[in-house]
Symmetry: C2
Subunit: 205 residues, 2 copies
Amino acid sequence: MESGAAKNVVLKFYTMSLKDLIFKTRSYRRFDESFRIEYKTLKGLVDLARLSASGGNRQPLKYLIYNSPEECNRVFPSVVWAAYLKDWDGPVAGERPSGYIIVLGDTSITGAFGVDHGIAAQSIMLGATEAGLGGCMIASIKRELLRNELQIPEKYEILLILALGKPVEVVILEEIKDGDVKYWRDAEKNHHVPKRPLDELIIKL
Amino acid sequence: MESGAAKNVVLKFYTMSLKDLIFKTRSYRRFDESFRIEYKTLKGLVDLARLSASGGNRQPLKYLIYNSPEECNRVFPSVVWAAYLKDWDGPVAGERPSGYIIVLGDTSITGAFGVDHGIAAQSIMLGATEAGLGGCMIASIKRELLRNELQIPEKYEILLILALGKPVEVVILEEIKDGDVKYWRDAEKNHHVPKRPLDELIIKL
């Protein structure tokens, strides 16, 4: 028995539980820009979005993928960063995202994208965490600037920018105080995010 | 060594990779209605949504949870089922959902929910799969009927119904043909869902 047990090679396959994965999927805005993301990694993340639900199964979303420093430099100026941090204009050189997935809505398929891009973005950001990356979903976009810079045809609506990289900041979830949802940074640049408690979210009628 | 190896109890902890989880998270519309879902399971799913991203961190979503047969019977008539299946009026008695999470937007916090409910719904549906359940995100809702039946105050916008249960149908992903996105059922009641290929979704400019 002992001999058999010793020979029995156990392959431990470990991935995170979904709750761990969601817990680790914070919004990160500072990165190690020297860490480059492979194109195939970003393509794999889009595949996660592809396999996710779509209203009426219309699948109207299209994706732009950028991972080279040159491409990232073209996208960066169109991102509006962290509205609540008034003294911060976004990540400095060296701490900027090293990849972007831009989510577009193809109006030749439908004019109503519902929450398809929310579903897709969550799949992508969870996949990024699993791949050791992190990032931020951004809806505050200088859309005309981006459209001109990248020459995005009018038939595509610019829905979201997903900024990605190797995070270098610590994000701390904490309980909300006095209903103030504004995230803030402490002296060590740790990023604090107040979250409403579960019992406030589940209502009874 | 052998003796030591034999004594070394290996705890295998296995959860799915995110891709497996997303792949298994299909839209299911027929369930084993005799399987009841515990309230705490649904509460745990809402907690996954709570920990997910929210635009400007406003966290304006609220949730209603229903799991008893009586409650489910009150929600069911407000759901509009599977628009593409013209000969099907929704699941018959015995195959109906055994739980619902209704996602509301609290207009006292903001009037603009962005894609928060898409993000939240995806977290919840992935969690449902992990918990051995399945279901469907539903945006086609008889909203006034539901509001009246459940006495939902006007300050809450009805955003989504997430119908949940133990699925009893097989869902088959297949490649799209001639751009036709309509899902369909075969003679064995298997549900076929055409998906666009990845190379169609990633565009190059």
